[in-house]
């Protein structure tokens, strides 16, 4: 019987220095699959390579041979000695391999549990494998189950609910301060990927009136146009304090851009309206003492990281529910695979034909007034007929005459005769 084998390294077993040594680029993945295809011990293969993991999924008739050749292949392909990564390698077989694939796709095995990218990466890896025609019945079925399981885990557990990215955590906080962000005024000081991402999130939450302050006015103008906002000079910052609700700061300034005294002076003019500072800059732009002022809230990058850590714990709790869904799917996949063996398939096929024959014979006997003796003869003839019909297919399925692709024949047989219903 064929076996499913998975071997790989990930962020838990190997440091980034090692992972980058044996990572496969998109282009290399195709080449690698081509050369795996030439290996006679390997029936089907899938290669997944992301920044956190490199994994090879194999379907083979002889697991130990396949594992050895896969190890050798990784070493030779990346030009590093086997001894250097062998200790970091994990190897799963059968149900364990299936479980591992399900867990990875459901993001239960990710560095940040619940992050959604991994599923897309697996889909790409599967697409490459089908293009290279190295995926077969088992991998096809396994991957389709995998996508289904991953989707179930995502919708039925809270694994992806709480924010685990800096910019998203900041938005979540803003919603806890202001409730509805509709019409809230945003002031962006400086620029930077994370800050701009936060502004985009805010706009998606219907914040309006975006103002951008930048040391170089021209750069500010460009950013303001991107957000459909308004550019202001850095000298006008204090005036902007009067109207802003959310301030995101990300400048390269060595000192504070906004001080405790400046903000305190504005409180009365702002009529105590709450003000939320998101300080992404290092060194910090916003005086942390401002947090002590009533209705003013300051979060710097470390605070936001702290929030994320709590959310990560929450996700880990939700992950337990995800594991249960995975367990269920592993059992169902095993049942499918067990049916794919020759003997149960032949048995199912025979049962199906016999039940059809019996039904039809009985119908005929009932309506044609046939004597007991003759009826016996009809039954005998039917049994002989079934045996004759099944003889050749049984031979093909039982003997290894299917050119190494037996599971494919079994699968087709099951489909042709609808044996799984």
């Amino acid at each position: 019987m064929t076996d499913i084998v998975l071997l790989g390294i990930n962020h838990k077993t190997a440091p980034v220095e090692l992972r980058e040594c044996i990572a496969f680029t998109d282009e290399n993945t195709g080449i690698a699959l081509d050369s795996l295809k030439t290996n006679s011990g390997i029936n089907e293969a899938l290669l997944l390579s992301t920044c956190n993991r490199v994994e090879v999924l194999l379907v083979t008739d002889d697991a130990s041979v396949a594992i050895d050749s896969a190890k050798k292949f990784i070493a030779e392909f990346n030009n590093i000695p086997l001894t250097q990564f062998e200790d970091s390698l994990y190897i799963h077989r059968g149900d364990e391999a299936v479980r591992h694939v399900f867990r990875v796709a459901s993001s239960l095995d990710s560095m940040i549990v619940g992050e959604p990218q991994i599923l897309g990466q697996i889909k790409d890896a599967y697409k490459t494998a089908t293009e290279k025609k190295i995926s077969g019945v088992i991998i096809n079925r396994l991957l389709h189950r995998t996508f289904f399981v991953a989707k179930r885990v995502r919708t039925e557990t809270g694994i992806g609910d709480s924010a685990v990215s800096i910019s998203y955590a900041a938005i979540e906080l803003a919603r806890k301060i202001f409730g509805d962000l509709d019409g809230k005024r945003v002031l962006l000081i400086g620029a930077g990927e994370m800050a701009e991402l936060a502004v985009e999130h805010l706009i998606r939450n219907r914040a309006s009136d975006i103002r951008v302050a930048n040391r170089t006015f021209e750069h500010g103008l460009k950013l303001a146009r991107k957000f459909n906002g308004q550019a202001v000079r850095i000298e006008e910052l204090i005036d902007c304090l009067k109207v802003a609700d959310i301030i995101i700061s990300s400048t390269g300034s060595p000192g504070f851009i906004l001080t405790h005294a400046q903000v305190k002076g504005m409180i009365r003019k702002r009529r105590n309206r709450p003000l939320f500072f998101i300080d992404i800059a290092v060194p910090r732009d916003i005086d942390p003492d401002i947090n002590k002022l009533a209705n003013n809230y300051v979060y710097d990058i470390d605070d936001l990281k702290g929030v994320i850590e709590d959310n990560v714990e929450e996700r880990n709790r939700e992950a337990i529910k995800g594991e249960r869904i995975v367990d269920e799917a592993v059992i169902r996949f095993r049942e499918w695979r067990e049916n794919l063996a020759a003997v149960p398939t032949i048995k199912d096929l025979r049962n199906k034909l016999e039940s059809i024959a019996e039904k039809e014979v009985n119908k005929t006997l009932r309506s044609n007034n046939i004597s007991q003796e003759n009826a016996e003869a009809v039954h005998r003839m039917t049994r002989a007929l079934i045996n004759k019909i099944l003889h050749d297919p049984t031979q093909v399925l039982k003997n290894n005459s299917c050119m190494g692709d037996k599971s494919n024949y079994l699968d087709i047989t099951r489909k042709l005769f609808k044996l799984d219903e």
Binding site: S162, L173, R175, K176, I177, F178, G179, D180, R268, R270, R271, N272, R273, P274, N291, A294, N295, Y297, Y299, D303, G306, V307, D310
Partner: protein, 295 residues
């Protein structure tokens, strides 16, 4: 009648349990269960109070038992209105247990038979009692919202989002709801005081007699007036407003209970556990009782 009160209490307590499970599991249907149970409890409560009203022929506020039962009923009513306006689902974890505790207290306090007195048979007394109690209920809600605000604000300020951070609504929402409660409470209290004065004038010819209950009601009123003024004039909000709502509630509680236990005055008989003949006589002879039947 007794059985109705027991059913009422059971429904309120089950509702409180529903709200607590909602707090933990955050499932929408749990909130719905809590809400329907408190609604059922309220209807039961209404029937029981209506029954007493019909037999007495007047609003039943003669002793602490009846008085608290009316207070619980008004609180439940105000909660249902509040829930309809703000849809602040989590608030039930404060309001419903509060109503339940009051009703349990009602069931423990003996309901001494009282003779109907003509001084309660007046539109002014009815509106006075209901307005003042509804105002107090609104202040009680402002207090609860103030506490929730402080919990949520503390979580955000100290940057330690704990159990409540996810479950509580935004600061702005809590602050606004608290403000609305105080405005409503203040308006009702003002109306209640005016009807009380009018009635006192009608019966005894004086608006104000320096009765301790009157004095403390006045202090409570002034406190909330100051709070509202600061909010409108200087934009007081957030933490300070929440703390003031909590202190204001303490004043209100003292006016409601403390005055009656500590001082003598024409409201004292309504919190007396055993009505003493002498007290009633003194009060009736004193010829200035009743202008705020309960607050």
């Amino acid at each position: 009648m007794e059985i109705l009160i027991i059913i009422t209490i059971l429904l309120y307590m089950l509702s409180a349990a529903g709200y607590f499970t909602y707090l933990f599991f955050q499932k929408e249907f749990l909130h719905k269960i809590g809400l329907y149970l408190v609604l059922a409890g309220f209807m039961c409560h209404t029937v029981s109070i209506a029954g007493v009203c019909i037999t007495l022929g007047q609003i039943p506020v003669h002793n602490l038992h009846q008085n608290l039962s009316i207070a619980g009923w008004v609180l439940a009513c105000v909660f249902l209105i509040f829930n309809y306006i703000f849809r602040l689902k989590i608030f039930g974890i404060y309001a419903v247990p509060l109503i339940s505790v009051i009703m349990v207290a009602v069931s423990r306090i003996p309901n001494e038979p009282v003779q109907a007195k003509s001084i309660f048979k007046s539109f002014w007394v009815l509106s006075h009692v209901i307005a003042v109690l509804a105002g107090d209920a609104a202040f009680a809600f402002a207090f609860g919202l103030g506490i929730l605000y402080l919990i949520q604000e503390n979580a955000i300020k100290t940057k330690k989002p704990g159990f409540f951070f996810k479950r509580l609504p935004s600061l702005e929402m809590l602050d606004n709801a608290g403000y609305v409660c105080i405005v409503a409470g203040f308006s009702l209290l003002t109306f209640g005081l005016i009807t009380g004065f009018v009635y006192a004038k009608a019966i005894w010819g004086k608006f104000w007699v320096w009765d301790p209950k009157e004095v403390w009601s006045g202090i409570t009123w002034l406190f909330y007036a100051a709070l509202l003024h600061e909010r409108l004039a200087a934009g007081w909000r957030g933490r300070r407003a929440a703390i003031m709502a909590i202190i204001g509630f303490a004043f209100m509680l003292f006016t409601y209970f403390g005055v009656n236990f500590l001082f003598k005055g024409h409201h004292s008989e309504f919190t007396r556990l055993q009505p003493a003949e002498t007290t009633i006589n003194t009060i009736l002879n004193k010829d200035d009782p009743t202008e705020k039947a309960s607050d």
